[in-house]
């Protein structure tokens, strides 16, 4: 009985070590590929930044207003972003190659799918970028309008607006790469409802004096003198 256990154990260990000796070089080559990929990506990033720097791309972006647009979306300048993009694309390709070197069948299938996905991922990234721009713009607009109307939780309101818009665009991006199709519909319904509610609140806050005057005119014979909070005429 004891002998049987020992035999089984030694066989298992033998199998494990033989599998390990087969697998370890693959892991090692994966690490080498990933590290090399990191270094190549880094060098490429620096080269791209240098080339665009020499070519005056930064100035061109400034004059075309692209830098301002990126700044408004809380993103780095175009040259830096391009460098980052190249770095990540190159490194991800190397990571995928490294993982492929492991030789796991299921992973291989996923990797080939990943490459098919790449164009959709690119479109999704563009959607996300536009979403970020829109979210930042409306979030700041909300913050300023609410703060100027002396609304106490202006920042909270602005964060909510930003979050809502980002959620909406993330869902759209997910839809683009084929994930969570149903979620898009639900998210859109929620976001649309929230926007309508926000608009109603905005109209309520912004136009309350107009509404009050209108109601007073409709339901009273005479206009009551109303207390004015800010009578300093600016001009």
């Amino acid at each position: 009985m004891g002998q049987l256990i020992l035999n089984t154990l030694s066989q298992t260990l033998g199998n494990f070590f033989s599998a390990l000796t087969l697998f370890l070089p693959r892991v090692l080559s994966m690490v080498v590929v990933i590290v090399a990929g990191f270094l190549i990506a880094l060098v490429l990033k620096l080269i791209v930044r240098r080339i665009f720097g020499i070519a005056g791309f930064r100035k061109y972006c400034d004059s075309a207003g692209l830098t301002q647009m990126m700044r408004k979306a809380a993103l780095p300048p175009p040259v830096d972003l391009l460098g980052q993009l190249i770095f990540w694309v190159v490194w991800i390709v190397f990571i995928v190659l490294g993982v492929d070197a492991l030789g796991i069948g299921a992973l291989r299938e996923q990797i080939s799918r990943f490459f098919l996905f790449l164009p959709q991922i690119f479109v999704a990234l563009v959607v996300l970028f536009i979403g970020l721009l829109i979210a930042n713009f409306f979030s700041r607009a909300t913050l300023l309008a609410a703060a100027n109307a002396n609304y106490p939780s202006a920042r909270l309101l602005a964060t909510l607006v930003r979050l809502l818009i980002i959620i909406f665009f993330v869902t759209m991006a997910l839809e683009q790469i084929g994930l969570g199709r149903r979620v898009v519909l639900i998210a859109f319904s929620i976001a649309f409802g929230a926007v309508m509610m926000g608009t109603a609140i905005a109209f309520g806050l912004g136009g309350r004096d107009v509404a009050r005057r209108f109601l007073e005119r409709q339901f009273t014979d005479k206009e009551e003198p109303t207390e004015k909070d800010e009578e300093i005429s600016p001009l």
Partner: protein, 424 residues
């Protein structure tokens, strides 16, 4: 002529029927039924009383009023005032009404008036607001005579105001124009203005009338353009200015956005003129006898002003961080933490803020409309401080403080130039 394209055939026909004129007075209107009769009558009396021998015309571009304003202009007649006049009008006062593109098209109204001045070969022109309650016939003389007799190119008004009135003009617009353009104009945004027909033609030739900043506050553009072109400016004292109540309750946020947006855009388009300038600001001659009289006091909720300033600073810190320098923002936050009567928003800090906002606007660090909106809470803090400081001040002390603020703007001008010209 290019300007004829935006004038209706009917309007051109009426202008042609008038022929040539010496003096043109324009009154752009939009739903001003309540005050327009008084304004038109004052204009007509002024013209008959002070310019009885001149050929005159009154042009009324209307933005599509639905309260009978244009009809009131057309129906008013100088014959109703025979008892007020020692002499009879020697010539007909022509009154021509036309329409322009709605409430936001103030620039279009100005353009129509200038085109009419060009077509009628007017020697002197004046434009007055339609919502005035304090206008008198003397205003017409004060605005027209310096152009017609003294050969000035442009006449800006000086009003007798309550010490808390015209805060934006006193705290930003006038001192910035003085320090930046080197001309001390007291009221660069008054609704009343006089100018020569020659200057009207020159303005008309400029390809700027489609620009939003010119349409919003044409007066600021006209004054800065006139200064940059080396025109002869003068000022006329008009007396107290009282607007119809609905006109004086303006929205501060929108007014700041429009007026300062126009000023900063003008600075941007005319930087070749003002950036190299090094001379001290020059005074502008004043016509008319300046007197002071009792004006209606201004009341407001001070507590709310302070609260809005403090709340604004704390809520808008992330936005202000991208507009102001770290040092200035820290000072603003210190000011916002003050409470009660010792509250003070120093001139030095205020000028620094305005200049940093101007430079940030120029460099478009964030959306320009957002940037101007972010100034509103700080402006509220500033006027709260000014009101506290001037509570017991008489007109002499107020004038002295205004001078000191102007000097501060002039002193810090190199700081503006440095920020304006640095790379973002």
């Amino acid at each position: 002529m290019a300007e004829e394209l935006f004038l209706s055939d009917e309007f051109i026909r009426k202008l042609t029927a008038v022929g040539e004129v010496d003096i043109l007075v324009g009154v752009p209107t939009f739903n001003n039924r309540r005050t327009i009769e008084q304004v038109v009558n004052a204009i007509q009396l002024g013209l008959v009383k002070y310019f009885p021998r001149e050929r005159v015309v009154l042009i009324n571009p209307d933005g599509g009023s639905n309260d009978g304003t244009p009809e009131a202009v057309r129906n008013s007649s100088i014959l109703d005032f025979r008892t007020l006049l020692s002499l009879s009008p020697l010539r007909t006062i022509h009154r021509i009404t036309t329409t322009y593109g709605g409430v936001d098209g103030r620039g279009s109204a100005w353009r129509i008036i200038m085109a009419a001045a060009d077509l009628l070969r007017a020697k002197a022109c004046a434009v007055v607001s339609p919502d005035l309650e304090s206008i008198s016939p003397e205003w017409i003389e004060a605005l027209v005579r310096p152009v017609y007799k003294e050969h000035c190119d442009m006449v800006t008004p000086i009003y007798h105001r309550h010490k808390y009135d015209g805060m934006l003009v006193n705290n930003i617009i006038a001192p910035v124009i003085s320090a930046v353009y080197g001309v001390r104009v007291r009221e660069p945004v008054g609704g009343e203005i006089g100018f020569s027909g020659r200057l009207a033609c020159r303005f008309l030739e400029q390809d700027v009338w489609h620009e939003e900043f010119v349409r919003a506050h044409s007066e600021i553009w006209m004054i800065t353009r006139a200064i940059a072109d080396g025109c002869k400016l003068c000022q006329s004292f008009l007396g107290p200015k009282i607007h119809a109540p609905e006109a004086s309750s303006q929205n501060i946020v929108a007014t700041i956005q429009q007026a300062l947006g126009t000023l900063f855009r003008c600075m941007e388009s005319q930087e070749d003129y003002w950036l190299p300038r090094t001379e001290a600001p020059q005074p502008v001659p004043v016509f008319g006898f300046e007197y002071s009289s009792g004006v209606e006091p201004r009341r407001f909720n001070r507590k709310k002003l302070l609260a809005m300033f403090q709340n604004g600073v704390s809520q808008l810190t992330p936005v202000l961080e991208s507009i102001l320098s770290a040092e200035t923002l820290a000072q603003v936050r210190d000011v916002a933490q003050q409470n009660g009567t010792p509250f003070r928003f120093p001139d030095e800090l205020w000028v620094k803020i305005v200049y940093e906002f101007a430079a940030s606007y120029h460099h478009s660090v964030i959306n320009r409309e957002h940037l101007l909106q972010a100034l509103t809470p700080l402006y509220r803090g500033r006027i709260y401080s000014v009101v506290l400081e001037n509570q017991r001040a008489d007109s002499e002390q107020i004038e002295k403080r205004r001078e000191l603020l102007s000097e501060e703007y002039e002193k810090q001008r190199p700081y503006l130039v440095e920020n304006w010209t640095r790379k973002p």
